[in-house]
Symmetry: C2
Subunit: 280 residues, 2 copies
């Protein structure tokens, strides 16, 4: 619910091409997704102060989103016709960001803290299978071919609740304990991206650079440069070591954010705000 009970909370579903953005989070003097959205939302709604958007996944510079979710708290009645405002917003927004939908947020909804999982896809192209130039900003080119079976069997070792400190940039006071729900690599056999390797990563939440480090580690194993024993050793360290590549941002897309049914929203937000530990 809105911090100020006199306000209405709205849910926004968004997509963007991250290529020309310095990431989600507003920064002075930088072009950011949050910055553009807040600027244009204020103009369309004709309010003097920019409303503040909170998102589910604070994407880095160059990272794309197909299913980003955000919320915003507005004065009651300000957004009388959400469909019309969505249309007007899309007409004025730069063409690398789109608002799919604006809808009243259900009771207890918080785009960040109600989310139960985030699903990212990292797309890789192999040296022997060039991809259509139209998709080049969504892909990272591998230098050597990879073995998907090797990647997938190693990926299994990382699933579940654990400390992902080895894959994260440390932040003082923040936990790096997460539940990794899915991690797998598939080769697309059909369509315009045939040949592309899609690495799906789903977790309750991610710490900074975690997706790109996880895929970087899998690529090390998949290419044969490293083995499963190395991956176990890296993971166990729980502190970021050298030799673990963080892949380029352009290959990464935030595809989807999962929320519980409406009745579970408020309890989830309370749970998510508490710091995760490995001992329940």
């Amino acid at each position: 619910m809105p911090a100020d009970a006199s306000r209405e909370r709205w849910r926004l579903d968004l997509g963007y091409d991250g290529t020309a953005f310095s990431g989600w989070a507003a920064q002075t003097g930088r072009r950011t997704v949050q910055g553009e959205l807040q600027l244009w939302l204020a103009r369309v709604l004709e309010v003097g102060e920019q409303p503040r958007l909170i998102c589910a996944g604070r994407t880095d510079a160059g990272v794309h989103a197909r299913g980003q979710v955000a919320h915003v708290d507005l004065a009651p009645g300000l957004l009388a016709d959400p469909r019309q405002v969505t249309g007007r917003l899309n007409r004025v927004l730069p063409d690398d960001v789109v608002v799919w939908r604006i809808a009243p947020a259900p009771e207890g909804f918080d785009a960040r803290f109600s989310a139960i999982w985030r699903r990212y896809v990292y797309r890789l192209s192999e040296p022997e299978a060039p991809v259509h130039p139209i998709y080049r900003h969504q892909l990272t080119a591998l230098r050597a071919p990879v073995d998907l079976d090797r990647m997938n069997s190693s990926a299994g070792l990382l699933l579940g609740l654990r400390d992902f400190g080895a894959f994260c940039r440390r932040r003082e006071g923040a936990t790096t304990i997460r539940t990794l729900l899915d991690l797998r690599a598939d080769r697309l056999t059909d369509g315009p991206m045939a040949g592309v390797i899609e690495c799906t990563v789903r977790a309750d939440a991610f710490c900074h650079s975690m997706v790109r480090s996880l895929i970087g580690a899998l690529v090390e194993v998949g290419s044969g440069r490293r083995d499963a024993a190395w991956l176990e050793q890296v993971t166990a360290a729980a502190v970021r070591g050298p030799g673990l590549p963080v892949l380029a941002a352009g290959g990464l897309t935030l595809e989807e954010v999962g929320y519980p049914a409406d009745t579970g929203l408020a309890p989830r937000a309370v749970e998510a705000r508490t710091v995760r530990t490995l001992t329940a």
Copy 2:
């Protein structure tokens, strides 16, 4: 076969994002697909003079290609390892053009004159269905919704052998008689472009601006601004009239070029060089 019998002919299969190109055809001082390919092919092969590429479909500025085909005649032995040259070429080419494959051209092959059809797809987004910003350079946004049934029943009227002068920019001495093999509009229901309308146009060959005028006319009918009688009248005129929109280049992609089986290549090239007439 090569004009100079002492040379070897090669077939190149190509793709490009047309957004930043002034079209296929080399022009002094402009960035073109042909210009980039000839420049880098000469450097990779270490030849002083740029080899000349002939393509199947000379695309306009901003038009994309997934399945462009070209040929080039080279000194025997110059291209000893086509796979290796393809790899080297892709590493030096700008990232908005890719060479899928270089292979020896079969006897009698001519990328332009052996082709029996060209298939283009024009992609439209409707005002009520925003598309992912990542695809924005491949789509043209409609201002009003269209009725696909209306578009498709009108499209049927245009199929077959006829003078498409009404849809072409006239060129002195050039015929505008073509055989239109396919013209239809489908709405994608699946995948990241769900909601997008794909207009497929296939003909033995196209004259200048023909695809974009044909789709422009169908959109006029589909939106209800014009009717089938208008389309018949426009077509019958056989000379370009006012009121026929030429849609933006970005929506258009050359998807595929069809060639006969190898034994039919040389006869087809002879046939295609003769001027089409409506009376056989």
